[in-house]
Symmetry: D2
Subunit: 346 residues, 4 copies
Amino acid sequence: MTDFICDYNTGCHPAILRELERTNMEPVRGYGNDRFCASAAEKIKKAFSCPDGQVEFLVGGTQTNQLVISSMLTQTDGVVSAATGHVNAHESGAIEITGHKVISLPQHNGKLCAKEVREYFELFYGDENHEHMVYPGMVYISFPTEYGTLYSLKELEDQKAVCTDFNVPLFIDGARLGYGLMSDRCDVKPEDISRIADVFYVGGTKVGALCGEAVVFTHGNRPARFTGLKKQRGALLAKGRLLGIQFDVLFTDNLYFEIAKNAIDRAMDVKKTLSDRGYEFLLDSPTNQQFVILEDGFYKKLSQKVGIEFWEKTDENHTAVRFATSWATTEKDVRELERILDCQEI
Amino acid sequence: MTDFICDYNTGCHPAILRELERTNMEPVRGYGNDRFCASAAEKIKKAFSCPDGQVEFLVGGTQTNQLVISSMLTQTDGVVSAATGHVNAHESGAIEITGHKVISLPQHNGKLCAKEVREYFELFYGDENHEHMVYPGMVYISFPTEYGTLYSLKELEDQKAVCTDFNVPLFIDGARLGYGLMSDRCDVKPEDISRIADVFYVGGTKVGALCGEAVVFTHGNRPARFTGLKKQRGALLAKGRLLGIQFDVLFTDNLYFEIAKNAIDRAMDVKKTLSDRGYEFLLDSPTNQQFVILEDGFYKKLSQKVGIEFWEKTDENHTAVRFATSWATTEKDVRELERILDCQEI
Amino acid sequence: MTDFICDYNTGCHPAILRELERTNMEPVRGYGNDRFCASAAEKIKKAFSCPDGQVEFLVGGTQTNQLVISSMLTQTDGVVSAATGHVNAHESGAIEITGHKVISLPQHNGKLCAKEVREYFELFYGDENHEHMVYPGMVYISFPTEYGTLYSLKELEDQKAVCTDFNVPLFIDGARLGYGLMSDRCDVKPEDISRIADVFYVGGTKVGALCGEAVVFTHGNRPARFTGLKKQRGALLAKGRLLGIQFDVLFTDNLYFEIAKNAIDRAMDVKKTLSDRGYEFLLDSPTNQQFVILEDGFYKKLSQKVGIEFWEKTDENHTAVRFATSWATTEKDVRELERILDCQEI
Amino acid sequence: MTDFICDYNTGCHPAILRELERTNMEPVRGYGNDRFCASAAEKIKKAFSCPDGQVEFLVGGTQTNQLVISSMLTQTDGVVSAATGHVNAHESGAIEITGHKVISLPQHNGKLCAKEVREYFELFYGDENHEHMVYPGMVYISFPTEYGTLYSLKELEDQKAVCTDFNVPLFIDGARLGYGLMSDRCDVKPEDISRIADVFYVGGTKVGALCGEAVVFTHGNRPARFTGLKKQRGALLAKGRLLGIQFDVLFTDNLYFEIAKNAIDRAMDVKKTLSDRGYEFLLDSPTNQQFVILEDGFYKKLSQKVGIEFWEKTDENHTAVRFATSWATTEKDVRELERILDCQEI
């Protein structure tokens, strides 16, 4: 079945498997103390122009969000997120289980508005006492967002300005970072990410790896005893090489960005395919996730032929569904989608 | 350098890489809802004669211990472990961070004594009130233990009897389960493990996988909403196939047990090599970890030539070190160790 | 200074002090195992027509909310609250620190709307999978609310129906329960509270006690090992008598309700006083908290003469402030307020 | 019945009730922002010669231990305690629920041995890596201990030296501090406590108050946003005056120490009474708790006549029981004990 159900439905980029095989029997130290992790870290720091960065490899996105947020917040603080932010909506309470509130502010196409964030912070530093409320101790944004949208460079700078003014870190969840940076509509460069974020991560799982996210603390601000913190959360891989090798491959010869570009190209193909045929979109996404509104009967039939994901009901008879492309999506996949849409079958 | 430093120093069994490659571009559902996980689960249930078992795949050992223990204990309970148990000593507080005490009882060559466990439980059910103490709500044992030792079938049955009498689950940490079951001195069979344990796991990371542990709830006792619990702890892999494929390979044609047997054979070679040359052992281990006591000067020199791990100081001038073999250790590795021990170099 | 700043600004009803003195040297068992707690529990069960109730005494409201919610939710669940609910807004994250999300739904004059609560629950039980979201596992409402408003009996029944349909407990925070039940506009009786709530508490701190809240699990549903749970949260008072004696006095000869009635009468006096003079109210509160909108300059001057609490800014030049009455407020206090409002001083 | 069952079996010193009554109707700000708390804090700082101390009032001992330890430890750290320390043995896991391990070291008559503590710390700062272990981040001692024993000044200085050398705080649990300082065998003065401890608390519950413990951070080291931390743990009393008034009374005219002295005098009377009659003691306690070994049959009969507490079984036919005196114990109580022991009744 043609499959646009998510961006983690296939394995990994073949070059990763080749390198896993090539290095397989070389004995190295465990827990990330190996030459692959060291090399990958250097390459990532270079790709993001972040010489003072500290790179840590973790297994998955929720794990990363949980560990980064819980290790950087003080006990009385919460993390500010858009209502639709992954940490607020789709992690089964992974932040709360560490004892911290997710302070949700309104989302605008998946994004936080810097002005609203500023107003929220100002509440806590005015005349009145707010010691019975959870202090906002960090701002979390995803780039791209859960709706595939992007912050402009100006918007990121504005978020950063709030964080700077109130002395809290800005965390950019880059589970799909490559798909954001390679969008035609993106005016943000890798070096902007590392300059603006206090901590961010480069998503591997959704961008060509079997698993893995590379966290970058951008200016020597990695929490103390981070290895212990990883271990304590069950996030320390014994065979750290598995992560190091993958990121080493992805950040060799620009591979990460090139395969991300493929996803964008195919997403634009899908967008055009659907748009040409008159389908309406939930919003205008410039990245690899496209949200289309389908009549329920048609959705039901289409989903027998094409892997697509339920997103939300938009009214009694319509549903927004997600078409996701990835590094692995081919032009042939899109043509097959066209064929299905145009044939009499449905 | 010849390397006996641990059993996770190399990659994975080549058959796993082959299968990852063969299936790489097949799109499947995420989060473990794929045919590989389903197939692997069936094979594991068969290998352990556990038709009612519920199998869950997780990434690493500490993560597994944390999730299993925290999801099975009630809030006022703690888990009983030998003082040297992994959960008590070497997980950076991964159990405590979930809000539960590890109740440590004395270790005897790494093992809990069933009689002492029983006496501890009896305390709580006598005349006096113990509501200000943490109740023992689970028994955790590792098989093999952190010292490479094994419980006899009789000893396991005794532990189980205590658990049955006090109505708490018995959890067997099988991070090195294959290495235990394939020991010549082991009188426990796979079907004994699944009959005796309420929950156990089959370690993959240390027995031929890149990562991964397969948890088995042996009698329909998997905690409710286990997927949510996994997600909440950052333990749910988006590409669950990575775990499913590995265990599917390991449990095809008895591969898991065969490669475990190799580790035991090589460990016995190492043991003989050291024993023949008069070295003393910290204790008599029948599995893949051998603990040898070395004079400190010699230890320092030897560790320049051979990968070995510091274990503990035994007196002012001596150190116990660990030689670990694995599925990947070869006869050539042992011969190289012999050569180094016998040459004038050290 | 005339003081309407809160309902916990004075000590306790004199009858409590007299009873503390009368019983002071009588030795009793600790931790609530005393005759005073037993007697108070019986009286509360009687006052609320709740023969199967289990009564527990705790020290304060946040402690009570934390303990009740954390002990009744399963790990993957959160508690549903109005955005303005005390547990969501003013407890410094006391629920989140126990690992649970507060799921905030829109507030309507401080109240949850049963229809909206139902729709939220339905999300989780439709066709689609929501295992990556926090399940709603309890509904929390305050009676009266943080804005002094009341649910009608019909509204409470509707909330209960949702809870029954989705099999989750309904928790009524009664920090000011007396002030709600004694309002002229209240059509809810004590027996309705215990019939509708699965668990509720009778606030003492704000209704005449020095400290203390009496939790009632209404139908034998007290969590197991509740004493241990109390101890674990630092909520078990060694001298439990302090709580037992206070509630025993408050529930003798209807004292609790009588003194609550005084607060309502004085609140209506204050309301009339302000209303007669043309002040606008933030909303129409029928209980002991009255929220009045004042011009900022006037607010500043008035607060030099009368104890009132900042509530929120309503626009650039106006502030909503709270006037709270209590069991201890006198007619003289209200006359003094009138005098201040009418004099030339401000 | 003559009652030696515990030191919290009666109410409070009458002077406290008188002051509660005298100040009852005076309106003050909530949450400890009142003149009583301010005055009490000053008096405590003076009594302990601790001008830079920061005093916080809390309700009970377990709550205090939980809040102090969890707010001063970093996430990867645990607290070192004697195996018999209250936080390790008798708080239902109140420390673990905050995510921290209690690292239990051997007890010697209830005390930690500074040399053993030092050796434990040295483990973590030697050549080998211990990042998979919980770091010792604080030392907890109780004074007097749970067995009524006392550290000598020299022993306290030795504990402090370890803490200074490894840069961790020393926390002294003074739930019975008065009973320790007033012992004839105590060579420690109040000013030694505040000089040696980084944080300690002055127990009120067991020394004449209805409830309450006064924590002193001795050198400006109170954790940031401590009010929020208190609120978050359910430990912030709305009517903080209840605590302030009690400690203000106890630290007026040396009352705290005087009533503590009474408990010691009566304990020595009890000790002599039992010793003269040939009873054996579990250990030699110089404070208000006396542990006596009784034959089981006699224990059973005696406990019908005198309130005493089961402590532990010492062999198959004997039990150690505790006789506790308090500020409220009278000479008459002791004479009644003598009478019972000497009469034919038992």
